[in-house]
Structures are given as C-alpha cells and as structure tokens.
C-alpha cells in the first residue's frame, strides 16, 4: 500500500504550468528521486509536499491521511534545503534539538537523541560549534540530523548537495542513503544530477515541463527510456532520427545509412522513429570498408574519462559518440578514419512525434523557487 501519494497535482504560476497533473505513489521506507532540468517543477512538487505552497488542484496523502491543506508545522516532514539553513544563532546541538524542544520532549531524551544523531552523521565532536564554524558539508550533515530528529513521516531533500564540492557530494550522498536505509524512512529527493539520483534511489521520476516523463527503477530508466527526453537526460545517448523503410525486416534509414533494428519490425512504412544507442555499445575500429549497421567517419576529438575515452566521430551520414577503453583509444587518434559498428539489432526505438526534440543544457542551472 502506498505511503505517500500525490494525486493529480497541478500548480500554475501565472501562465506557467509548474506542475501539470503529477501522480506519484511511494511505498513506506522507499527512496524516490525527482530528477529533471531547471524549471521542470521538481522543487515545486517538493514544496507542495512540505506545505510551503498550495496546489491549484490535486491531493497529497501520507499514510492514508489527506494533508493537502495542513500547515507545514503540522505535517511532520523533515526537510533539508539547498541553501544552508541552520539557525545561525544556535550551535549544531541546539539546531538539532530545536524540533524536539518545540515538541516538548524532556531534556534528558532531547540530549540523548541529539547526541545519537550527531554521532550518526559523524559530528559528535562538533555539537558546540556554530554554523559559521562548520564547513558546507558539515552544515548539511547537521541539517540532516536536525530533520531526522523529529522522526519525520517523510524526509524531503531539496538538492542538499548542490553547493558542495564533488568529493563531499559523493561521500554525503552515500551517507544519506545509508541513514535512510537504517531508519527506513520514506524519502523524496530532488536533484538535477542524474548520477546522484541513479546511485541512491529505489525509484527515479524524470520530470519535464511539469510532468513526469517516466518513473521506474534506476536501471530501468537507464536501459529502457520511455521518451526521447528521458533518453537524452539519463546518461549519454546517440539519437539517430530515422525512417522505417522495410517493416518486415526492421530496416530503418538514417542519413543514407540503413540499419536493421529488431524493434522496427511491424512499424508502418515511412514512420519516423528515433534510434537510441548508448556510446558504450558502439564498436569502433580502423576503417576497413564498412559493413552492416556500420557508420563510416573520422575521429574528431578524444575526451579522457579515466578508464574509458569518449570519441566524437563525424561521419558523412551521421555524427556519433562512442566510449572505448582508454588503452585501445590511443590507436585511433583524432583524424583517424574509422568504422563505427552500431548494435542496432538491440537498439531502443521510439516513435518520433512532430514535437521537436528537447534541448538539454549540459549542466542545468540550480533550480529556483
């Protein structure tokens, strides 16, 4: 049975539809990430759950109780914000204690819980420090402890790592997941960082223009994107716009190259489709005259990514990205003539509507309010 339900949530800001009928159903103790570019509505959805904003239509139900019109202070939601939100006039300890004092817990219980939580986030030694004496990562740990102190029904995390440096982000996101599993707390996590979302979540919901494009397990989102947007947003993807030329054999044509794609069988002749191929599945070799499902081209650039090197290949027919082991990539320097063999038989295929494909910035800006 669902523990947190968002039913048909709509929220408009003037003419802008920030949320356009959001439906989410999350089981108790599950971790859902709302993932999407800036302005997709993910923070708005989180703020509605927290009670900081009201939906124009739809309901929010937690554990069978409709809380849509409940004030934020009565919702029992623990929230960690994107901006540093510790109370500057209180020590780390007093910050964590704040919610417990409001609830009238006795002093001994408060002290014990605060001490346990600060230990849990690795800050048992820093309870007496004020926020300005803590690093960004430490402040967010205290904020997490503060949110957990009240034993919230749902933990809400609004891009809590976006202001931190790369190493601390990875470390802290793993800690968040560890603590979430330890407490078994239902969690809603907002981020624009797909790696973050895929690495810590039970479920990921990709949002775009106020709607959920697809929701599923991280592996499913990566391997079987349901829409062109999801395909583009999750991981790197070669997108080849093609036309079905032989529905019986599953042959599609893209920029003069014909590919045989199993998923194209049975599609109407002349249908416009999008062939999706992950860079790590493209096989690149020195040109030897081509072959089936092969695009001929020239290596334009190398991007070193550690164990793999990303090759940008410009062909006469299509441009591609291919990832190959760094040791082998050295044999194909920029300027090399290559054959890129596409595993088109197993490629994903999406019907291409008349709607133009979305453009996604490489590094989305932090979401505004």
């Amino acid at each position: 049975m669902a523990y947190l339900e968002l039913n048909g949530l709509h929220r408009n800001f003037g003419a802008v539809k920030a949320l356009d009928g959001i439906e989410i159903s999350l089981g108790e103790g599950e971790f859902l990430s709302l993932l999407g570019p800036s302005g997709c509505g993910k923070t708005t959805a989180l703020r509605l759950v927290a009670g900081f904003d009201q939906p124009d239509a739809g309901t929010i139900v937690v554990d069978g109780r409709d809380i849509t019109r409940t004030t934020p202070s009565k919702r029992d939601m623990g929230m960690v914000f994107q901006a540093y939100s510790l109370f500057p006039n209180m020590t780390a300890q007093q910050n964590v204690e704040f919610g417990l004092r409001i609830r009238g817990k006795d002093r001994a219980d408060r002290r014990k819980r605060v001490s346990d939580l600060l230990e849990l986030v690795g800050l048992g030694h820093a309870g007496d420090r004020y926020p300005h004496q803590l690093s960004g990562g430490m402040q967010q740990r205290v904020a997490l402890a503060r949110a957990l102190a009240i034993e919230p029904r749902v933990l809400l995390l609004d891009e809590p790592l976006s202001a931190l440096d790369a190493k601390v982000r990875v470390q802290l996101r793993e800690e968040i997941r560890r603590i979430q599993l330890e407490f078994g707390i239902t969690t809603l996590y907002v981020t624009h960082d797909q790696e973050e979302a895929l690495s810590v979540s039970d479920h990921v919901a990709v949002m775009y223009r106020g709607r959920i494009e697809q929701m599923g397990a991280p592996a499913e989102m990566y391997s079987a994107p349901a829409t062109p947007f999801v395909a583009e947003f999750i991981g790197t993807m070669n997108r080849l716009e093609a036309t079905v030329v032989d529905p019986e054999r599953g042959v599609v044509e893209t920029g003069g190259v014909t590919l045989t794609v199993a998923a194209a069988r049975g599609k109407p002749r002349g249908a416009r489709v999008l062939v999706l191929i992950r860079p790590e599945t493209v096989e690149v070799a020195a040109s030897n005259g081509g072959g089936a499902n092969t695009v001929r081209g020239e290596v334009l650039t190398h991007t070193f990514l550690g164990p793999v090197t990303r090759l940008r290949i410009a062909g006469a027919e299509a441009s591609l990205i291919a990832d190959m082991p760094t040791a082998r990539a050295a044999a194909l320097p920029p300027g090399s003539k290559v054959d890129a063999s596409l595993p088109a038989e197993e490629a994903r295929l999406l019907d291409l509507s008349d709607e133009p494909l979305p453009e996604i910035a490489e590094e989305p800006a932090p979401a505004g309010r």
């Binding site: 009670g51 900081f52 202070s73 914000f81 939100s85 109370f87 500057p88 704040f98 503060r146």
Partner: protein, 266 residues
Amino acid sequence: MTRKWIAPSAVIWLLLAFAYFVIPLLGSFLFSLNKLATGTCCTVHWYGTILHSGAFWQSLKVSLLLALETIAISLALFVPTIYLVHLKMPKLRPVLAFLALIPFVVPPIVMVVGLLNFYKGAPIWFYDQPWGFLATAYVILAFPYMFFSLDAGFRSIDVHTLTEASQSLGASWPTTLGRVILPNIRSAALAGSFLTLAIVMGEFTIASLSAFHTFPIYIQSVNESEAYGAAAVTVLSFGITWVAMLSLLFVGRKRGARAAVIAGAR
C-alpha cells in the same frame, strides 16, 4: 615581517575628525566650569545646581521613558511588518522605503499640525500625557531609522529558508519569529533602538509645540536664564545619552552576543 604603519595623511584626517567632534564638547565643558561672578575657571557649581534640580530629573525621566516607549512600539510594529514584507510581499519593500523617507522630508511643524488635526477626536488622556500623542509622533519620527536598520538586518539573513526550516520542524509563526528570526536580527534592532533613543532624547520642536516638558525643553529653559548652566546640562545630556546607549547595548548583547558575532561573520 613588515611593521604596520599608518600613513601621515590618514593621521591628519583622523585628528581633524576627532577635533570636529571633541572641540565643541570640550568647549562646552570648559565653559560650564566658569564662575558666574568672574567668568573664569573653575567651579562645579553648575553641575551641583542642575543635579539638585527636580525639573532636571523629572524631564530626564520623561524623555527616557518616552524613548523606551518609542523603541518598544517601533519594534513591535515594524519587526513583524518588515518580516512579512520580506517573506510574503517583497514588492511592497520599495513602498515602505519611500514611506520611511517622508519624516525626513516633512518639517516637524507641519507634522505636528497634521497629527493634531488627525487625532482631533482622540480621548483626553491621549493629549494629557506625553505617552500618547508625543510617543505617537516620535514613532513616526523614528520610522526611517528603525526601518532602514531592520531592513538591513533582514537582508543579511535568508528569511525564506530560515522560516521554512523552522516551520518544517514544527514551529508556529510566533515561535519562528521569536526564536529564529529575532535573534538573528538583534544587531539591527539594537542599531535602530540606539538611533531612536538619540532622536527622542534630543527632539525639541514637537515637544515644545505640544507643550510637554521633556529633557530638551528643560535644556532650553536653562539656556534662557543661565548660560553656564546650559553648558553643564549639555555636557550632562551627552553623558546621559551615552550611558543609556551603553545600557541598551549591554542588555541587548547579554543574550544576543553570539548572534551578533555570527551576523558579523556572515
């Protein structure tokens, strides 16, 4: 290691600024020590006379109480207002800032006449005691100082995030304001209070026109009869205002010291 030194030009400017403020005060002090008969130094007779005068203490009490009342009303009125404007109605901020400039622009005489007309139907007690009409006028007079001080305080903190964090932890509006917001704008509230105190302690026109015997009125009455005595009152009033400010600072800092330090470090 290089030794820190101050440029000679900076020293000259510092001395000039120091002289600008200190010479008149020193002049008044030396003048206040003169004997009536010879017009030469030195006697503390005038200080004794003033400190034994009932009118001095009475007017001082009225002005200090008026200052405290003005500060209390101003804080009670403006802190929640400016908080709400920052939180919910940021578009109203320029309107408030404009309104806050009006007391600078409107001459006190115009303001008194206007206020007297406005409060024409008010009950007698409102005019009878300084705590009614005069306090109201002083709140208006102190509005710009209080507004700009508090506004700067609210701008230095993330009002939205702190409020939402507090509410998500279960705090009501009054608790959020009292335990989270106020301690973090304490320095700004203190600054506004200092300015208000200084204004009320020195305001003459409105008190005179509305016929209340405040401290500045007393100074003026002494000035009319005894020049040396007036100088002594001036020096005393300077000292008293500073002592009052330091007391306010002490009371405010006692609980808000840490907040003030943190606010300074932001």
